[in-house]
Structures are given as C-alpha cells and as structure tokens.
Subunit: 342 residues, 2 copies
C-alpha cells in the first residue's frame, strides 16, 4: 500500500464558552429533539464526561491519537448544534468567539489542523460579516452549519446573502446534521430514531434536496456544499429524483413549477461533495464513487463520536484503486478546502 | 438472453367506488400533503384523465400493454392512499368492496393477475377480520397498506393484532408510500418534494425503521414486509443503523433502551424484501443485491405511474447474472407471494 496522506474532514471540536451556554440552554428547553444528545454531552451530572473532554481537547489526546493512527490532519469544526440553538445575539457573539479560538488552535499546528468556521444564520447580515472576517482575516478553509435554524433551511430567500457570500468567496459549506425541528418530528419521536440511526439523515438529506430543488445553484453556481455520512442518503435517490423532477420533461399537472433548470443529479455532482463520516460501508462507498465520481468523495472520521482506527482501516482495506483512495484520503480535501499539498 | 417469466409486483389498480369517495374526500380537506396528487388524479375537471382510466382498467389496455412488453403477470393492489383517508366506517366498507372486485378481476385472468388485498387500519379488529376473509376465502396473495394512517404507524401496539394475523397467516404486507402526515411535514412543504422526488421515501423508510426498532419482529418472526423503490432508502443506511443501534454493544447513556434483540440489518434481511418499482438504477440494484442478497429483491413497474417498456429494459439490460435476474423477475415473487410457478 502506498503511503497516503490522510486528511479527516468532519472532526468535532468545542470550546468552553459554547459548551457552557449549551448546558444552560438545554435546561430551559423541553421539546427539542436535540436535547437528549445535548444534555448527554454538556449537562452530565457525573462531571466531565469523556466525550466532552475529547471535544474540548486539541493538542493533547487528539494529536496523540492521530499519530497512533497515521492520520495527518483533522479539519476541525465547532460540533453540532454549533451556535444554532442560541438567541440571535448570543449566536453572533459565540460564532466570533469560537472562530477566534479555533483559528488559534490551527495556527499552533498548521500542519496538523485545518478548520471550518461558524456563523449565526439567525442574523443573516451578521453571518455575512463573520463569513468575510473568518475567510479573509482568519483564513478559514470553509464553513459549517448544522442543518436547520429554528426550523428554517438555507434555500429560503432570507438566507441568500449567506449563500452569495460563500459563492463569491469560493468558500465551501459543510452542512452537518442536527435533529429535525418541531413540525418535522412526529414520526421520529420513537425508539431514539431521531439520531444517527435514521433522523439525522432525513433532516440533512432533506436540506440538500431543498437546496437543489429551490434553484439556488442556478443563482450561485460556484456554491460548494459538503455533506457527510456518505451523502445523507441522497446518492441512493438520485435516479428517482432525476426521473421525478426533470425540467427537460413535461411537468405533471399537479406539481408546482420547477425552480431549477437542470436535473437534480446535475447539481449534486457539480455543487456537492460527500464524506464518509460514520459510514464505513465499502458497498456504499463503491456505489457512491460509481454514481458521483471519485472526485466527489472525501474521507472523514467524525472523531470523537467515531473511532479513528476503524475509519482508517475502512478505507485502507476498501477494494478500490489506489488512485481513488489517494483522492478520497486527501486529494479532494486539498482541492475543495484549499489545504496545501504536502 | 433466457426467456424470463416477468411478474411485476407493485401494480396500481382502482375501482369506481373508491375513486368516487376519494374525489369527495379531497374536496373537504385542506392541509393533507396527499391532496395535490389525489386531486390531480380523482378530481380533474377536464374529465376522465388518462391516469384514472388506466387505474380503473384491467382487462383491456393493461393486458394489451403487458403483452406488448412480454410482462407475464401483474400483482395488483388498490392504489395509494387506498382506504386510509376515509372515516373508519367507510374504510372498512370500501376495503371489502375493493377486495371483492379485485378478487373477481384476478379470477377472470388467473394466469395474468395476482393481488394484494386492502384492510382498514382505522379499525384494527375489523382489519383482522378482513385479513382473514381476504386470505382464506378470496385467496389474496398478500396485503398492501399505504404507510401511516392518521399519522400512526404499524409498530404501535394498537396495530399488533394486524401484525399477528399477517404473521399467523404467513401473508406478506406491502407497505406502499403516501405523503407524510401533519406533524412530520414542515420541511417537506416546498418545491413538491413531499412526493416521489423525496418525501415518499422519508415516510415509508421511516415506517420500516420504526418497525425494526420497535422489536415487533421478535414478537412476530414470520412477518414479511415488502417495500418498493429499492427499499425506500433503507438499504443504503443499514451499515450506519447497525453501528448506531446494536443491542450487543453498550447503549449510549442518552439513548432509550433497545426494544429489539438483534441488529437492524438482521431484521431487514430476514423480515423484509424490496422491489425495484420506480427505481431503475443499475448501480442501486447491484448495491442492494450485494447487501441484501438476490433472494430479497423483486421486480416491479409501478404501472401506470411508470412505463412498462422502461422497466423491462432496465432489468433485461442490467449486468447481473441470469440466475439473479430470474429470481428478481419472478422466482422471489413466486416464493414470497405464493404464486404458482409456470
């Protein structure tokens, strides 16, 4: 096996200011389906739980585990739900704080870390300002948002200034899962399926489908969206989406007019890339390479929620060409996130 | 190419009594996401539209089109949403009417048609009675339900008598899509994505995941569920579901106790089969065969919503072994639905 450079592209991090406010916020809420996991991590009465310790840690345990597993870089981002459960004012402030902290972490180890910055969709004008600051002053490699904000999705017109800024700066946006909002939750309130078992994919896949169908990629053709977990189910649906929503065919009478000019798969291949986070299935990887091309798939661990050794072994052992493996391990991440090649 | 027997396993049919009541019901509702398509088909002011004509037709156009495309049999079923938008009393009555009518249609062409009977989940006791009647007196090859009923899913305890009857009679249940219910709809109210574009899979896949996670397959181990559209996205999620919900591993502290005793994929392979309806993607077919086995995949057209020639060409041309193709075209349907071999 060649010596691959391994860049993991969906790696979770947090900072005490955000962790503390999440703990407070989780005590004041009752209905949100994000609560079980937020309480489990940030409001654990047993004290400092291992998961939170790993999230807050950067140079110590994380780098050691990376070394042990021959992982060259982590693309770090403030972990879900980021600043999106806070009031607009708190969210704007904490996005800035988190970005400043994370920029410092990366500056201390520029060969081991790259990063995605946060912004507060609650205040689109402030978000645009922070996107410019984080990209041009702090050098962020891209941005991360945790799906919906108060039940709203980025295809809605109020968020277009955010998409425009990302488009103009050629800054990729990673859409990470969180639990579905109220109103999109009833069938998922059972057996814990609102989580990574099923619901996160429903939420984030729906976000991707909304963006595609809304036509925003005609308006912002350079916008690049990254989604994890082998594409949140969307790659498996592409044939059916193309069949059911092809602007070049006659629209069924009971359907609303198309907003986009091309078939869904056109945008998914041009404006999206997917990562392997938390989805270490070789058949799903090979399927995704076949329908999307090996230039649209990136490796990710989802540390500390998933284990590093398993993620490395998954791609090391996958029976795909070394050339594809090199792209998935690092070549595509270098291109999409602007990480300097070795 | 060998001469395959072609049994199409998700073929839509309707009867004037149901069509008329759907037309009436659709005028009295406003919020249901089933409305656009129900109105489009049953309440089209332009008169008798081609789709409704094809649904109501049996011996005439349908058999001719089957002959033209070398399709041997249709497994017919009352088309979505079946009787599930009616009041309990109307639903019970119309399930009986539809089953009587469809049994007659099949009796007139036993070599060309098999069928799935309807029941009214609104009244579980009446449903159990009708399941027994349709199976033992009318000879139904199985049953079809159109996902949720008034926002409730079959894993809920009130429906267990239905699952028990199906289990005891060894009668397969086809869970067909309909639009998501209120409370599970907010994010899907945009760009027509509540339909086959995306939402039907969210709804029906969620139904399948709920059944698996609820543990009903430990209670009813012979229950066989069939889902269409290449498994409604579930096959692509199996690795992640197994990773996130494995009763043999330690449960994360913030998760509810497991209700089932085995991993999700165990039940999906033992208690489910999928069909290719409306999903003519060779990569998706090959992926599904790889993770589920060729004994769990059946061919379907979804006539008249989808075209027969495309569906035949899809499987005729797929680069899979003829042995697998024979199982998918008819062998598995003969076994699962009790259709006599040629």
């Amino acid at each position: 096996m060649p010596k691959f450079r391994r860049i993991a592209t969906e790696e979770a991090w947090s900072t005490p200011e955000v962790a503390e406010l999440l703990r407070q916020v989780s005590r004041g809420l009752s209905r949100s389906l994000d609560l079980p996991i937020v309480r489990g991590i940030y409001d654990n009465p047993a004290g400092d739980p291992p998961l939170l310790k790993k999230l807050l840690d950067t140079a110590d345990m994380r780098l050691r585990t990376m070394d042990e597993n021959n992982v060259d870089m982590h693309l770090l981002a403030l972990t879900s739900p980021g600043v999106q459960m806070f009031t607009s004012r708190e969210a704007v402030r904490l996005a800035e704080v988190a970005n400043d902290r994370l920029a410092e972490v990366v500056a201390a180890h520029p060969d081991r870390f790259a990063w995605l910055a946060s912004f507060a969709p609650q205040d689109p004008a402030a978000a645009v300002k922070e996107i410019h600051r984080a990209r041009t002053e702090l050098g962020a490699n891209g941005f991360m948002v945790n799906s919906h904000t108060d039940g709203e999705y980025l295809d809605e017109e109020k968020f277009w200034p955010i998409l425009e800024a990302l488009n103009d700066l050629r800054a990729p946006l990673y859409i990470h899962p969180r639990a579905v909002p109220e109103g999109f939750d009833s069938a998922l309130r059972a057996y814990g399926i609102e989580t990574a078992i099923w619901g996160y994919g429903v939420e984030t896949g729906t976000h991707a489908v909304r963006l595609i169908m809304s036509g925003v990629f005609d308006r912002f053709p350079d916008l690049k969206i990254v989604i994890g977990h082998m594409g949140e189910g969307v790659p498996f649906w592409l044939w059916r989406m193309d069949r059911m929503a092809d602007p070049h065919r006659r629209r069924p009478a009971h359907r609303p007019p198309y907003r986009m000019s091309e078939k869904p798969s056109f945008y998914f291949k041009r404006n999206f890339a997917i990562t392997t986070s938390g989805m270490e299935s070789v058949p799903a990887l090979k399927y995704s390479i076949e329908v999307l091309g090996d230039e649209n798939v990136m490796w990710a661990i989802d540390y500390p929620y998933q284990d590093m050794p398993d993620a490395v072994q998954f791609l090391d052992d996958a029976d795909i060409p070394d050339e594809s493996k090199a792209k998935i391990y690092s070549g595509n991440a270098e291109r999409i996130f602007g990480i300097a090649p070795n």
